[in-house]
């Protein structure tokens, strides 16, 4: 497939548009000097990823991504940023001084996996563009063939959240304990 043929498909314009937005926002997440801006750029990057999921006719996954990440996880991140009183304004140093080796490694990871992907799949087409995934088949998979992983993941989530509460909770000092008992 030549580039002209590829550009001629209108769906690829959407891909390019959302892909550029995703990559720009992801790049800003790792370069911005403002912690809150980083979290908000992650919202935009993940919204771009959700748009790619819509192009790949994975509507349910896109909705889950928007609900769980943009709805819940990002609120958690913003709380974490505010509680740890990470400076919400500009700060002198958010990066360490190993930028060049890190950039080399990041580019190397990109080049290797992109090259391998293109070599393996070439221009293998995604055939059934626009046919939505039946959400019922997802449900059948969850409570049928993959019921054990499903339960395990639910248990992991419960254990992690209970553990998170236990870790982050502040124990009372003996004096405070005394005062509480007195009341």
């Amino acid at each position: 497939m030549t580039l002209a043929e590829w550009i001629a498909q209108p769906i690829n314009w959407f891909y390019l548009h959302f892909g550029v937005v995703t990559l720009f926002c992801a790049f800003r997440v790792v370069t911005t000097q403002n912690v809150v801006h980083g979290a908000l750029y992650l919202v935009a990057a993940l919204a771009g990823v959700a748009a790619q999921f819509l192009l790949l006719s994975a509507e349910f996954v896109a909705l889950v991504l928007v609900l769980v990440y943009i709805g819940a996880v990002l609120v958690l991140f913003l709380f974490g940023i505010m509680i740890t009183r990470a400076p919400t304004g500009m700060e002198a140093r958010l990066d360490n001084d190993k930028k060049l080796p890190a950039a080399v490694l990041g580019v190397a990871v990109f080049l290797v996996s992109a090259t391998v992907s293109v070599m393996s799949f070439g221009d293998a087409a995604i055939v059934q563009v626009g046919t939505p995934t039946d959400t019922a088949s997802l449900a059948v998979g969850f409570i049928g063939r993959f019921v054990v992983p499903f339960e395990a993941v639910g248990f992991i989530l419960l254990a992690a959240l209970v553990g998170g509460i236990a870790v982050a909770r502040r124990d009372l000092t003996p004096l405070e304990e005394e005062q509480r008992r007195a009341v």
Partner: protein
């Protein structure tokens, strides 16, 4: 639409995540970079599902598993960061040398 375009996008997202993971000092932004890498993995899973279309949409099922585990990881990670901040008044990963030999 070809599969490679999504795989290349996912590789780029993963590379950006690796860079952020290595370069950032604030532990919360390190977690944000990990989220970027997990999003890249999800793009791969959903792309392969769109290519091969299994009856139970296995690729999409596993991307939802990844999202769930990522949510658990963020919860426990932020709890640890909050506790460390409370003990050491810092959330910078390069100042956490308590267990460094």
């Amino acid at each position: 639409m070809i599969a490679s375009q999504f795989l290349v996008l996912s590789a780029a997202l993963f590379g950006i995540g690796v860079y952020g993971l290595l370069v950032r000092r604030n532990a919360v932004i390190v977690l944000l970079s990990i989220e970027l890498m997990l999003a890249a993995v999800n793009i791969n899973l959903v792309t392969f599902e769109a290519m091969w279309r299994t009856a139970e949409a296995v690729g999409q099922l596993f991307s939802i598993f990844v999202i769930t585990v990522a949510a658990a990881e963020v919860g426990i990670g932020l709890a640890i960061i909050i506790m460390i901040f409370r003990n050491r008044q810092s959330a910078n990963v390069d100042e956490l040398d308590l267990m460094r030999w």
